[in-house]
Subunit: 222 residues, 2 copies
């Protein structure tokens, strides 16, 4: 069967999982802890990061960019990139917004402080980093409100990788209750629509040993 | 005419310029200094970074990922992604290797220390960062040697975005003479083939006021 090497709090793995579930492509999840630098995994992907998708025919695709483009090329119903050059460019621009900018300014900081340092005891947590991420996330939520005020989904009329990517990052941060939804009701409405999708419900039901999610984490009416 | 908003030492802008030249797509270069956060430019691309491609029909495409995929979809002769899922995945994996990993471990550090801090006087240069990048680059040159020992170009038989991306990053760093070519002769042979391409010769001929490149920077026989 198709296999996805993933890690629970890797937003890029979540993005691919979300996409596979939406496309109804069956897949076995293989938990990979990238910091272990397991030799057999480094042979699959020398960069040592997740996600890595292994198809039943043996084809190995490494990295969120390569996997998402591959899924669109090979299994494009439903299509999450759009059909015109303008829409595809907008979807890719926004996907990068979340995968690069949001990741650097929010996700990476929260996961590093709350999972790597606190849970895995790799250094001391630093409250100033968390405060920095808390400031940054407000601008991103404002941007989501700006977009959804003008469009049905983030990149236009259709649900796309822009929504998949944004929701994947936000859900990782929301696990720890670090998204100030109460001050951004339109962003919350958009995320409620995402949460009510059966695909996202599956992802949000993950039980991660030793880490209890925020009380509203799984609830579509939050 | 088509316009490319770029910055001289942005490896992602170089990558798109390199691709446009290889595809013989005419383009006017517009110099954009991203740190100025010019309002008119932020309207084009709210993320505020280069490259941004503006087509004659008004279509705006922001970000190296969106632009490179767009160019392959719209102008795919020559094709720099390959034609099979396996090759395309390998090209995208290696493109990300350089755009994410090499960038973080080498390019970003060198450009920050040598352009942002030293030339633009934004803080004090820190020799330990340069030493860190000098250590990191060796592993990447070794990886280029490993790949070119087994393949004609980095991702396989054909010249691809993997080569374009790797060469774009290396050429930014090589401007300052920070690539230890003498210890990596096979990587040098690969880069000599890149440098001898008419497209790359155009890029290497840029004159950047106030910054003299390393003596071997433009020479294909170095």
């Amino acid at each position: 069967m198709r296999q996805l090497y993933h890690y629970w709090f890797c937003p890029f793995s979540r993005k691919i999982r979300f996409s596979l579930l939406e496309k109804v492509l069956e897949c076995e999840l293989v938990l990979e802890l990238p910091w272990k630098r397991r030799t057999d995994f480094l042979i699959l992907n020398p960069a040592g990061n997740v996600p890595v998708l292994k198809e039943e025919n043996g084809l190995v695709i490494s990295g969120t960019h390569a996997v998402s483009e591959y899924l669109e090329e090979e299994y494009n119903k439903p299509n999450f990139l759009g059909s015109t050059p303008a829409i595809r460019s907008e979807v890719r621009r926004l996907t990068d917004w979340f995968d690069l900018k949001f990741n650097q300014e929010v996700t990476e900081i929260v996961i590093n402080e709350k999972v790597m340092k606190k849970y895995l005891k790799r250094g001391n947590t630093d409250a100033s980093f968390i405060r920095f991420a808390s400031q940054n996330i407000k601008h991103h939520l404002q941007y989501i409100e700006y977009l959804t005020d003008r469009r049905n989904w983030l990149a236009g009329d259709e649900f796309s990788y822009a929504d998949i990517s944004a929701a994947s990052h936000l859900s990782c941060v929301d696990y720890f209750g670090d998204v100030p939804w109460e001050r951004f009701s339109k962003a919350r409405d958009w995320y409620a629509r995402i949460k009510s999708r059966p695909s996202m419900q599956i992802i949000l039901k993950d039980n991660i040993a030793g880490l209890i999610p925020a009380s509203h984490y799984r609830d579509p009416d939050f």
